[in-house]
Amino acid sequence: MARPPSRRPGINRKAQYSLFASYVVAVTGAAIGLLLVVVAIFDPTGFSAIRIGTAEIGRPVSMALKGMVSGVSSVDEILAAYWRAGTQNVALRRQVEADRNRIIEAKGVAQENLRLKKLLKLVDADASQVLTARLIASSASSARRFARLNAGRWQGVRPGMPVRAPEGLIGRIHIVTPNSSDVLLLTDTANIVPVRRANDNIPAISTGLGDGSVEIRALTAGRNPFRPGDLLVTSGIGGVYQPNIPVAVVVRAQGEIAYAVPLANPARVDAVVVERAFEQAVTRPGPAAPPVSEEGAADNAVTP
């Protein structure tokens, strides 16, 4: 092999200085980069404004590509369904038979609930939903788990808002740019969600593992109460997530830790819903309150 062209400038003084200057610039720049990382230790979202440009350019590209491949992503699921079509059909039919009774029961309970709420004059105005959007890209090459959402500050998205799909919890908003935002997925190692077991309220903490599963630690003393198959929902503690959003299913219990798989797969869901943080949704002044008092005042004025 031929000798590669040398970067040593020889005795040319100008070239020597130029090479030296380039190293000075490189080392200084690397030090600045390190400094930016150190700043990010204390303020992880501090320099997010720098991302606005690339986020705005990347958004239409990702959206166009997403439109093209949204059908392709579920091909493996369809193939897997064909593989066990016969046995699955029988099992599903039995499942439907079993579920029919429960649905009828649930309808009765819902009716009764409605009646009781009317009796109590409870107004169930659920105005927590901000908007519906799509996940268009993700940090596929990084160790962190972010997904890019196709809506941003101009659409009303703010940092900290919970994001969910019909199947379950997706994560919460991390960084917001004008037209897109980064969602910290449930499986990110920094995403901690207070959960409870759906059937008996055992509180626990869910932490992402970064590989598509989450780790569940019970907050109760004693041995690990979780068994494979347990369903976990958000508990509403902490004020970020609404209570009773489905989160994950336990697949394995080992020592004090249980491992669970999220119910909503961000790669599969078609659209996600951005909600207000639970605390804000609860403490916001109800829309009905001021008009009622005015009416009451008017009534008082008229009646005498």
Binding site: Y23, V25, V27, G29, G33, L34, P44, S62
Partner: protein, 175 residues
């Protein structure tokens, strides 16, 4: 110019534009960084860092192409696209390029296999460093095993990317 209709035919005595000569490598590295805009919602770090791969390929193919500071702007752009904390790519890429320079001072005569080894070391350094930065900037307890598969197939992908860069390089220098 003999025939105006034959503008795009490579011929002797003509030089490609400066923009093509200097811009093509930078553009390809940025394109590699932009691959995270693909509509893949990954559940684990599966995608190789293509920006880094292309950068290393160009650096090892054409040692005289860039000064080491090129890692700063390209690393910053990669940080903006990849979701790593800003500054992580700037630092890691520049340090990797300086390291390659130092190796080059000692190992002037080397072949493709040594280049692959150097690239492998740089890839391990950059991915492991990125993991470390993700961990200290509020990433929680990220395990090293999480990125091990990514490191393996990034290293295995290097020869392919070098080939493609060489192909682009042939087009780049041909007028």
């Amino acid at each position: 110019m003999i025939d105006r209709h034959l503008n795009h035919v490579p011929r002797l005595g003509r030089h490609p534009s400066r923009f093509r000569l200097a811009g093509t490598p930078v553009f390809t590295v940025m394109l590699g960084s932009c691959l995270t805009a693909l509509p893949v919602i990954a559940q684990s770090p599966v995608m190789p860092p293509f920006g880094l791969l292309v950068l290393l390929s160009w650096r090892l193919l054409r040692p005289d192409l860039w000064r080491t500071w090129i890692g700063l702007p390209l690393g910053l752009f990669d940080d903006m696209m990849s979701g790593q904390p800003i500054g992580s790519g700037m630092f890691l890429w520049t340090v990797a390029l300086i390291g390659i320079d130092m190796i080059e001072h000692r190992m002037v005569w080397r072949s493709y296999r040594q280049d692959w080894l150097i690239a492998a070391l740089a890839i391990i350094f950059c991915i492991a460093g990125g993991l470390f930065f993700a961990r200290i900037t509020g990433g929680g307890n990220v395990r090293f095993l999480l990125v091990a598969p990514q490191i393996v197939w990034t290293i295995l992908l290097f020869p392919f990317v070098v080939r493609q860069c060489a192909r682009i390089d042939r087009w780049r220098v041909m007028a």
